[in-house]
């Protein structure tokens, strides 16, 4: 019991130093791991080798490139906020309660992870589109979603939400419900327990989940193209701009692709730390 809570306290402070002791890893595993790393890194190196460095600055600072990058950052931030708003309660319900059909609900929540993005786009279109399930309702309210930046945010949130839910739920399950139970027995109301105990407990999972969601939103392509369309400054995010530039200016496409890679790497390295959970 003391050992368990001690461990939880360590990971709570995010300084799981004693978990990182050096273990003997068999050489063959290291060899295969190296091949795996190369498999991911080599294509990026290959792409970088194609960059037209002489014109790199001009290519990535063209008005359409800047518009696409800013739109991407803005929409990815908005969709991450939407994921946090919806995803944290979803993770809490999935981790802390038991109900009939819970496994089915979880399967549906994770569905966007395995769906081809274009299918997500079709699904969103048939729901929020003009002739979709909710389209009429929105039309009456004077809200037009198709072809708007809102559509981009919805498409990104749809594909990114599972990353946040998974990450936060895993953290909640790993930390256990002991602190919440103690707080409750000491007379704290469910609301107080959530804000004062549960939420601080999941901060590490929340941060890494939000980073993953942001990165996924940044790379969203298929659902956006299908659901939101493609117009400079409105719906044409960086991935869509890369896809379009490829038609006529492969150099610009490669240069922008590198920008996207750099942004994604910077975001992940700066904020994503694997949790030292035992």
């Amino acid at each position: 019991m003391t050992q368990a809570s001690g461990r939880a306290a360590v990971s709570l402070r995010g300084t799981a130093r004693d978990d990182t002791e050096v273990l003997g890893v068999p050489r063959w595993i290291v060899a295969i791991a190296a091949v795996g790393a190369l498999f991911i890194v080599l294509p990026i190196v290959g792409m970088t080798a194609r960059v037209d460095w002489a014109n790199f600055g001009a290519l990535v600072t063209s008005p359409s490139a800047i518009a696409a990058l800013l739109l991407s950052l803005r929409t990815a931030a908005a969709s991450t906020a939407l994921c946090l708003l919806l995803g944290v309660p979803m993770a809490v319900v999935l981790a802390r309660s038991q109900f009939r059909g819970q496994r089915l609900v979880r399967a549906f929540v994770l569905l966007p992870l395995v769906l081809p993005p274009v299918v997500g786009g079709i699904a969103l279109l048939s729901t929020f589109g003009r002739r979709g399930l909710l389209g009429q309702t929105f039309e009456v309210l004077g809200i037009q979603i198709a072809f708007s930046t809102t559509a981009v945010v919805l498409a990104q949130a749809f594909v990114a939400l599972p990353f946040l839910v998974l990450s936060v739920e895993a953290t909640l399950r790993a930390s256990g419900a002991r602190y919440e139970a103690v707080a409750a027995t000491l007379g704290a109301a469910p609301n107080t327990v959530f804000w004062r105990v549960t939420l601080p407990l999941v901060v590490p999972g929340l941060v890494s989940g939000a980073v993953l969601a942001f990165a996924r939103a940044l790379g969203e392509f298929g659902a956006t193209l299908t659901f939101a369309g493609s117009l400079e400054g409105v719906t044409r995010t960086l991935p869509l701009e890369i896809y379009l530039q490829r038609e006529t200016d492969p150099d610009a496409a490669v240069a922008l692709a590198l920008v996207l890679v750099v942004v994604a790497v910077v975001v992940m390295v700066a904020t994503h730390r694997p949790r030292g959970l035992s």
Binding site: L125, R131, F147, G229, S230, L231, Y243, L244, R246
Partner: protein, 252 residues
């Protein structure tokens, strides 16, 4: 394994080329890989079947994608024997690089048409109607052939469109119209013909100011060059004309 087959295949291909293609009965199995623009999917699938029937032993493998994508694939060494593009600009990229031999023959033309959802909710009647800001218009981006044609018509007519979306492919424009998300879109005549009742076509006279030409050529690195030439001749010949005309393509 490959060489004798290829030798005899080529021999019978030249025999078939010099005589009527229907006489080539003793052809050794040979596969011809044809890369064709996405807008040719229906017609080339039909032509491939007819070509196989006329040349026993020949299998035609088809790869459809946007012309620019196909150019990239061929430039990167994809094993194509024949390339059919939706515009001369993309074909010029390959002839310019020496990747397609000879002078590619233009086998069809295509023009734009306004597509609207069934019932024409926005009441579009002419090209000028598309400039109405209340009408949600979707077009192709200027970087792709259908968008270049759209831009040419805008320039010729002086009508400037304010589209809600500029798509990468004509099929995406068609999809946004048939789903009712857009009030109108500019697509090819052949797209409207192929879409059946899911969209309504509104022809407009100004479309004649931008005619797209479809060229076909044999890839320089092809190991089935003679058979490829035979296929290109089949497409530009009477059978090709008939199938393409039935789909709404114009005669060059």
């Amino acid at each position: 394994m490959c060489r004798p087959g290829r030798g005899r295949g080529s021999a019978s291909a030249s025999a078939a080329a010099s005589a009527s293609s229907t006489t080539a009965a003793s052809r050794v199995p040979e596969t011809l890989t044809v890369f064709a623009a996405a807008s040719l999917k229906k017609t080339f699938t039909e032509l491939a079947t007819e070509f196989e029937a006329a040349n026993p032993g020949v299998t035609v493998a088809l790869n459809f994608a946007g012309s620019a994508d196909l150019v990239t694939q061929i430039t990167e060494g994809a094993p194509a024997d024949v390339f059919a593009a939706a515009d001369t600009k993309n074909m010029a990229k390959l002839t310019g690089a020496g990747l397609v031999t000879g002078a590619p023959a233009v086998f069809a033309t295509n023009t734009l048409e306004i597509a609207v959802p069934p019932g024409n909710p926005a009441g579009v009647k002419s090209f000028a109607d598309l400039a109405d800001p209340a009408t949600k218009v979707v077009i192709c981006a200027a970087q792709v052939p259908c968008g270049a044609a759209t831009a040419a018509i805008e320039k010729a007519t002086g009508v400037t469109l304010a589209p809600v979306s500029e798509e990468n492919a004509v099929t995406d424009v068609l999809g946004k119209v048939s789903s009712g998300e857009a009030d109108a879109g500019l697509v090819y005549v052949t797209d409207v013909a192929g879409a059946g009742t899911s969209v309504l076509g509104i022809p407009f006279a100004e479309s004649g100011t931008a005619v797209n030409s479809y060229p076909i050529g044999v890839v320089a690195a092809s190991k089935h060059a003679e058979l490829g030439t035979l296929f290109a001749g089949f497409v530009t010949g009477p059978t090709g004309r008939k199938v393409l005309a039935a789909a709404g393509f114009g005669t060059p």
